[in-house]
């Protein structure tokens, strides 16, 4: 399998609450054998050692797979069975030749002599390597009343973790409790090959402890992109009644705490902007509000395009993102088109390990604020360059052709269906279109293609061509193609055509309706002057310049 294939499989596998251990082991092994020359630059490498007092064979391979889910490539070392003491005390051991950056100590209370044994081990490890040391806390069971061995051991490691910046305690007891201690710890597998942790628990365990791999490798995620419908709230904004929409308070509170630690929150959701904003700003049960998000992309564009834009505007690499959406389609889209993003279900957010970092700074706590300030200042600049770049990558090509017999039906249909980006909302049947052509009016269809596919005809332009002043009767675009500067292309085209025909001015009206707010700023954005305005319409005009040129990031055919 290629690296990309393994990466995809790992990402898809971790959608399940309990991925199958045999698959995880197999993927971890494939990773170790994969051609390293194809590993992308955003993947960071670390070396992780596992020292255990019982059998954890298979765990390192599963750990490799879990680490890759968050863009970390882990080389792993497994100390020989129950030789954790020897490996640590012997300077020539395989452990020191391996030279780990991260070491996991997984010790059963039965196999540790006393507190000083434990302390010696940890201190030696710290002295002989630069490794971070993660110690599983000790499991008590079958302890006689008053037997304080385990609590004392746990006290010792707690004290060590507070004193030493490189020592951390993994709450293994909490893992057992959350996942069913009897099904995992000291099952019958303990008698078979000394697997005191049931191998079936390895994927969940590896996923949980991979947080230190993320932190050590510097791969900590910086931004969570959330969907809205059935993710941040139950229900669909714009379709379900406002009162029936139920905000997911637990999830939102969790996200608030994430933000409090310096993570950024963003939204990528397919809704009418106003419908979504109504819930976001005015629903009484929302814990999060618009101000809590560093970036919002609420429109009908494909989510991968929007997330790319978010990354560019926030000036973050795509590898620092995690994306949560209830829709398997959207998750798979992002998994495929943006593999460096960790894709999870909304339910998996609270246990997601990718935001773990070692040591928070004051800057982390302020990051959200800083972004908001920066955003206000640089909004135009950032937006401009980022849109160009990703449009360029999009390989967008726009074709503007005169209406012909075959395209009249589609043209007519668009005038009847299109509400949002429609300057005048004039509805025309096929006969109307034919009559306009007979009268000498000019009608063009606008179609578009990009690297993801062909949109077909998605825009219409109808001109009443007087000798010196062309009038835009209709200019509309399907909402699918908004946000790609196609309307600017049409403007440039119309002006070039008008010039060719000897006109000196081009004018048009904007007739506001309940739905066409997206088109309200079109005229001013391309430099038309407002001539007059009354209750029902605004009239604009543009005096033609000598020449017009298309931007280089879009291909135009006409």
């Amino acid at each position: 399998m290629t690296f990309k294939e393994i990466q995809y499989k790992i990402s898809a596998l971790y959608e399940h609450r309990q991925p199958a251990v045999s698959e995880c082991v197999s993927l971890g092994k494939s990773l170790a054998e994969a051609d390293v020359s194809f590993v992308p630059e955003y993947v960071r490498k670390i070396k992780a050692a596992f020292l255990s007092s019982f059998t954890v064979q298979g765990l390192p391979e599963v750990f490799r797979a879990s680490a890759l889910f968050n863009n970390v490539w882990a080389d792993t070392y497994l100390a020989p069975y129950n030789q954790f003491t020897q490996e640590i005390l012997n300077s020539e051991s395989g452990l020191y030749r391996f030279d780990p950056a991260l070491s996991y100590l997984i010790i059963d209370k039965k196999d540790i002599a006393d507190n000083s044994h434990l302390e010696t081990l940890v201190k030696t490890l710290l002295a002989k390597t630069k490794s971070k040391v993660v110690i599983f806390n000790f499991v008590s069971e079958g302890d006689a009343q008053g037997d304080t061995a385990v609590p004392r051991l746990n006290e010792t490691i707690k004290a060590l973790s507070e004193k030493e910046t490189r020592v951390f305690v993994y709450d293994f007891n909490q893992f057992l409790q959350a996942n069913g201690k009897d099904d995992i710890w000291n099952t019958k597998y303990a008698a078979l090959g000394d697997f005191r942790i049931h191998p079936e628990a390895f994927p969940r365990l590896a996923y949980d402890i991979s947080r230190w791999a993320v932190a050590t490798a510097g791969a900590t995620k910086k931004c969570a992109v959330l969907d809205l419908d059935n993710t941040l709230w139950a229900g669909i904004a714009g379709e379900d009644d406002f009162q029936t929409i139920t905000p997911n308070k637990d999830l939102q509170k969790f996200l608030q705490s994430l933000a409090g630690q310096g993570a950024l929150l963003a939204i990528a959701s397919k809704n009418n902007f106003n419908d979504a904003l109504e819930v976001l700003e005015r629903h009484p049960d929302m814990a999060l509000r618009k101000k809590d998000f560093a970036n919002l992309k609420i429109d009908w564009q494909p989510k991968d395009i929007n997330i790319r834009a978010i990354a560019a505007e926030l000036k973050l690499g795509l590898d620092s993102f995690v994306f949560a959406d209830d829709s398997p389609f959207e998750r798979d889209l992002i998994r495929t088109s943006l593999p460096e993003i960790a894709v999870i279900t909304p339910e998996a957010l609270p246990t997601y390990p990718g935001f773990h970092s070692v040591g928070l700074t004051a800057e982390d706590f302020r990051r959200g604020e800083m972004y908001k300030e920066e955003e206000g200042r640089k909004e135009f600049e950032v937006a401009f360059s980022s849109v160009e770049d990703f449009l360029r990558e999009l390989k967008l090509s726009v074709a503007i052709y005169p209406a012909v017999q075959e395209t009249i039906p589609r043209i007519s249909q668009l005038t009847q269906k299109t509400n949002q980006f429609n300057l005048t909302t004039r509805r025309y049947g096929e006969d109307d279109v034919k009559n306009m052509l007979l009268r000498g009016w000019k009608i063009w269809s606008v179609s578009a293609k990009d690297r993801f596919g062909d949109y077909g005809i998605i825009g219409v332009c109808i001109i009443d061509p007087a000798a010196d002043r062309w009038k835009i009767d209709t200019l509309l675009l399907s909402c699918r193609i908004l946000g790609r500067k196609v309307e600017d292309i049409i403007f440039t085209f119309l002006c070039s055509e008008a010039l060719k025909h000897g006109a000196q001015k081009i004018g048009g009206e904007f007739i506001p309706t309940k739905k066409n707010a997206p088109a309200s700023s079109f005229f001013s954005s391309v430099g038309f002057r407002l001539l007059e305005k009354d209750g029902s319409q605004e009239v604009y005009e543009h005096i033609l310049r000598d020449d017009y040129s298309y931007p280089d990031f879009i291909t135009v055919l006409c």
């Binding site: 045999s22 298979g58 597998y189 090959g193 191998p199 079936e200």
Partner: protein
């Protein structure tokens, strides 16, 4: 529900054609003690049974597995 041979082949990452009645740790390289445990887990999950320690220890071939499954009411 997958067949026994398919499950074994999957866990061992081996070709299904190798999973004959006589196959076992001796004949298939990937049938080591670790994979043997994963196999137990998969079989228990797939056939909804629980094997005892004694049953697990005595298995030497695929035929042995079939015998044990039969004892649990699985043909």
């Amino acid at each position: 529900m997958l067949t026994l041979e398919k499950i074994i082949a999957k866990v061992l990452s081996a070709d299904e054609s190798l999973i004959t009645d006589e196959a076992g740790p001796g004949s298939i390289a990937s049938w080591d003690s670790f994979n043997a445990l994963l196999l137990v887990a998969e079989l228990e999950k797939n056939f909804n049974v629980k094997f005892t320690l004694e049953e697990i220890i005595i298995v030497k071939t695929v035929a042995d597995i079939k015998k044990i499954l039969k004892n649990h009411g699985i043909a």
